[in-house]
């Protein structure tokens, strides 16, 4: 994500962001996205419910 994209998105969301801050945000968002994007995601119809998995693992 570029600083220009951040500035466009900020404008559309009604946020006041300076160009220097947009650069920082672009770097930070890019870092999180790089981490998330390296995780393979299986094609599944519906993820499991977190509550149900907690209960299942608690019984082991």
């Amino acid at each position: 994500m570029t600083p220009e994209t951040i500035l466009d998105l900020a404008k559309q969301q009604g946020l006041l962001i300076t160009p220097a801050r947009a650069k920082e945000l672009a770097d930070g968002v890019g870092s999180v996205l790089a981490g998330v994007n390296r995780v393979p995601v299986a094609f599944e119809a519906e993820p499991e419910l977190f509550h149900a998995v907690l209960e299942e693992l608690a019984q082991r």
């Binding site: 994500m1 951040i6 998105l9 900020a10 969301q13 009604g14 946020l15 006041l16 962001i17 801050r21 920082e24 945000l25 930070g28 968002v29 999180v32 996205l33 981490g35 998330v36 994007n37 390296r38 995780v39 995601v41 299986a42 599944e44 993820p47 499991e48 419910l49 977190f50 509550h51 998995v53 907690l54 209960e55 693992l57 608690a58 082991r60």
Partner: protein, 476 residues
Amino acid sequence: MTTSMPGDLLNQDATDLAAAIKARKVSSREVTEACLAAAERLQPQLNCFIRIDREQALAQARAADEAIAKGAARGPLAGVPLAHKDMYYREGEVTTCGSKLRRDFKPPVTATALERYAAAGALNLGTLNMAEFAFGPTGHNAHFGAARNPWDTARVTGGSSSGSGSGTAARIFFGALGSDTGGSIRVPAHLCGLAGLKPTWSLVSRAGAMPLSYTLDTVGPLARTVRDCALLTQVIAGHDPRDPTSRRAPAPDLTSGIEGGVKGLKIGVPQGYFDVDIDPEIARLLGDAQAAFGKLGATIVPVKMPDVDRINTLCNAVIAVEAATVHTTWLRTRPQDYGPQVLNRLEYGMFLPGSAYLVALDLRTAVLREFDRAVFGQVDVLFAPVMGRQTPTIAETDLTGGPDLLPMLASFTRFTRPINYLGLPSLSVPAGFTKAGMPCGFQLVGRPFAEALLCRVGRAYERETQWFKQAPPTAA
């Protein structure tokens, strides 16, 4: 009634105090007056309160003593003075959430956790300082000032439950609610020399608690001892119809088996991630604690960690988007009313794509299963550091932006935050002191709803080491 000095009264833990009040060895009023005197004397040095509710606490103490005299006090915390992080709503009373934006906010409801403490007989001394909107791990607050660590008032308390850590450690009250979204109970517990229990996600109702990140938020106590943490959690746990995400089960019994010891248990010591970037002194204290568990009859087992960096990244995506979502309106209309550090962090979540957030949510169960298999397929409990660095000063960590801000914040929560993503319970336990005289702790992580086991293991260690008996230099 007792003729003890105030220091003796205030040095015991909540469990012993509750027994002494019940047996009428000391009155609740006597203890509450000592707490209030300590609060008024120490507040200028520690800044742990946002508000001291003197008259209300004394009225509650009188009522508790009358009920005990009539044999009508049934709660396990009858007459025990507590105080809570200022993010738990109390109907009609100002709840600031540590912020300018809610400086005058009077909620229309009372938090379930507060109602349950009241039903258990506990008193409330006031509301406690915290990171603004619970979004900061150091203890800084741009609006109310930083809470100060009673072991060295130039150093941070940790956060976000900063006043809870400072005041409980300073013997001003006997325990406090914190909240933990990325380490906000365990970090201040570690830095202030306390026990702190972050329960399994959904064990304790969040009704009437300020939201930060609903996928990750948990409600739990900081206390002088592990056995107090067990009692203070047991009293507030259990299903609550006001919080549909709360577990549909009665409150667990965390106290009756707590003296059971660790003989025969397997305690895992991480290989990878949790053993990286640890200060040598902290590493030595952690090693001593592991050796103590060995002497107590547990088996120490090295456990290879799965990809915890990945867990942290996914957690960051969740908290960024959920926190920004909660604050969207104010980010648009009143950005100038946030402290710079909190505003800086909140803005990130406005720019992460929806797909990244949903990927992080969807992967949560698979990642939890993988972690469970890798860790709890081999051991009963995982032993891990809470923080790897020595306690910094308030001045060193007073950053409002720039490239050093996020790495500094991450140095506080890199070992605690992954546990929130996994939803697992974790207990922070005091483990001694550095050469600078600052406390150090470790965390014990368990399977979902294994709080009773964590408390049993932590209690065995605290009974053996007795670190909790040491009071800080700035204390009642």
